[in-house]
Symmetry: C2
Subunit: 234 residues, 2 copies
């Protein structure tokens, strides 16, 4: 059976496979920012993000985190377990940067007393708004048990990645995760972890090594993604 | 000692009194909406909101809620205990209306499965943003115990007021509360409860009897405030 395009997002295309339990994720070079108002291309991004995600998901699996990844099947393509994705994004902030600075008045680089979790509703038409536990409950996005398990998984992922990146002289400023449920009802880490979905700062110079270079027209965008691929492979 | 103006807000002026433990709140006719972008006057609003707040605070005190109110000293003026106000606003929603419909896609009039509490940061320069428990903790706006006590007080206030208004054929759609600490460290209800800070719908016709008539240019603004004063005094 020919692969069928199931979904095309801003940065990835999801295809069916012969196995109904598996999907194929193709990473694109397309880049968007500010709710799609800014659009562009970042050369080699698809290939680099596929490789970075593969490496990081393997690191997390060594710590007992279940991920969607089965195997990398092409430079820009990952074979993945099909999940029923939750309609929420989880953001972890170790330092303040980006939207939270404007929203709540934090200085960029403010160190959080402890990792701050935020939930956002995945809804492009609403601009992916911040949601509270009360909203999650009213909208029935997660049960209380699912919410708490996702919080615990997210904190463990953060702990693992903070250390992994510290060893590579990278500050993990913040990042976004998406989870889903597999056919057996397990909560599984999905989507990607890459410079598209994280803020990475060089630990010494605090130079930005992520999509903020694209968002803010800082130049050296491709080089930052290449640098991060090199560092995760150290 | 002549009263000194301590603070002038959008709808009230706070004056000092001879007693350092007491302040005087004068209710104004000034009305603003949409973060101050829309401005106007609502005739007799000051007098009516002072009377409505007095009545509602007395009703709440009968149920054991401690309020800031000492006594009404003029048509538009309340003598109040001085509080150290928390830098948060608490919103209770029994039905969806206003900002939450745009923010999360609820239809206006959607009945919440249970009263929904939201916390907002009191900061005009940031537009009073929605905050989560994680933000409250990081910004040290409330201790966990204060947050939980405020939640319990708010739910009790909501229960009392929903019933009070139901007996007067009014649907309490949503409302905003502000709390502070008195000199003994008790958490006390402050500010006001009025058509400026609540959404009231006639229970039968669902006609709006609150500041939405001003916000949305529906006409009959003064009449709505007068009607609500009459209903609370039934």
């Amino acid at each position: 059976m020919a692969p069928e395009k199931l979904y095309e997002g801003k940065a990835k295309i999801i295809y069916s496979t012969d196995d109904p339990e598996l999907i194929s994720q193709k990473f694109k070079n397309d880049a968007t920012a500010f709710d799609g108002k800014k659009k562009g291309q970042i050369e080699h991004k698809g290939v680099r993000n596929a490789a970075i995600t593969t490496r990081l998901f393997r690191v997390l699996e060594e710590q007992g985190i279940i991920t969607q990844l089965v195997e990398q099947t092409a430079d820009d393509t990952l074979l993945c377990k099909r999940l029923e994705m939750f309609q929420v994004e989880v953001v972890v902030r170790n330092y303040a940067a980006g939207s939270i600075c404007k929203r709540l008045g934090f200085d960029e680089g403010h160190k959080m007393k402890k990792p701050m979790l935020e939930f956002f509703l995945k809804d492009d038409s609403l601009g992916d708004p911040l949601i509270t536990d009360a909203h999650i409950e009213e909208l029935e996005l997660l049960t209380r048990a699912e919410r708490d398990e996702i919080e615990q998984l997210t904190l463990k992922i953060n702990e693992t990645l903070v250390q992994f990146f510290a060893e590579r002289k990278v500050l993990l400023v913040d990042f976004k995760l998406e989870f889903g449920k597999d056919s057996e009802g397990h909560i599984v880490l999905g989507d990607e972890i890459s410079p598209d979905t994280c803020r990475f700062w060089d630990a010494d110079s605090r130079e930005k090594l992520d999509k903020d270079r694209f968002r803010r027209d800082l130049g050296g965008v491709e080089e930052a993604y290449e640098e991060m691929l090199n560092r995760v492979n150290q």
